[in-house]
């Protein structure tokens, strides 16, 4: 119950009704970007997994543009079929994923298994972890003062 009911302000009744309808009609499944992705960082690379069930891997386009990974493609309905119910994502998709660091775009690899497209993006040399040599001993320490 909304406060407008308590005071019964006529001007607010419509708003009240609108609000109730919005809450009731809120979809169970939230609309999100397609495909859903998981992103993981490893010391030498970034791994992106995209859930793309039933896609022909040769028709999925994987591109790196500057600091963005762009996935695009399309899934077609089977030929000669009439659609009685549609719940799955249909038609073309484009998904852009901002990369957290520079990658070596010449050595990006993608593989497809069980409807998951896994993309490995090696870090560019400047983004890789660098080992810093720790100097031991030598002059300039407090002891030598």
């Amino acid at each position: 119950m909304f406060p407008s009911r308590i005071f019964d302000i006529p001007e607010l009744r419509d708003l009240d009704r609108l609000f109730e309808r919005m809450l009731r009609e809120r979809p169970f499944v939230q609309v999100r970007a397609f495909p859903p992705v998981n992103v993981r960082e490893e010391p030498e690379r970034l791994v992106v997994e995209a859930a793309l069930p039933g896609y022909d891997p040769s028709r999925i386009d994987v591109k790196v543009e500057e600091d963005t990974l762009v996935l695009s493609g399309e899934r077609r309905d089977p030929e000669g079929a009439r659609v009685l119910r549609r719940e799955r994502w249909s038609g073309p998709f484009v998904r852009e994923i901002a990369l957290p660091f520079k990658v070596d775009s010449d050595h990006v690899e993608a593989r497809y298994a069980n409807g998951i497209l896994t993309i490995e993006l090696p870090k560019a040399p400047e983004a890789r972890p660098r080992k810093i040599q720790v100097q031991v001993g030598g002059g300039g320490t407090e002891e030598s003062r």
């Binding site: 992705v37 960082e41 039933g54 309905d77 079929a81 119910r85 719940e87 799955r88 957290p100 069980n114």
Partner: protein, 118 residues
């Protein structure tokens, strides 16, 4: 043709998802295409009992250190009621690239017949 029950079960520990499904009609059959990305073929189970097709599946996965996560290991379950007119002995299932395809052939006796007009 289906009566999907999409209400998620809340009596179990993990969330159970109803996988999104497209239904296609062909001249001789109906096909259900169920999206189950990341599920291994051995983790899909389809049963048929008293006109009810039940799909159970599980997407397994180790917990990894994700920077960003939009899908997780999950349990899937969905049932479909098959109406009269299908050859239920000939229902076939195939799992390919994360999509479960269920083929329901129309019973031969109930195929559309041409009624001669005199």
């Amino acid at each position: 043709m289906t009566e999907p029950r999409t209400t998620p079960r809340t009596d179990v520990r993990e969330t159970v998802y109803a996988p999104p499904t497209d239904v296609y009609q062909f001249d001789d059959r109906i096909e259900l295409h169920v999206d189950l990305p990341g599920v291994r073929p051995e983790d899909v189970e389809v049963t048929f009992e008293e006109n009810t097709l039940t799909i159970r599946a599980e997407r397994k996965g180790e917990s990894e250190n994700w920077l960003h996560r939009e899908y997780e290991p999950a349990v899937f379950r969905r049932t479909f009621t098959v109406p009269e007119g299908f050859d239920t002995d000939a229902i076939a299932a195939r799992f390919d690239h994360g999509v479960l395809v269920l083929r329901l052939p129309v019973a031969s006796g109930s195929k559309a017949r041409q009624i001669p007009v005199r």
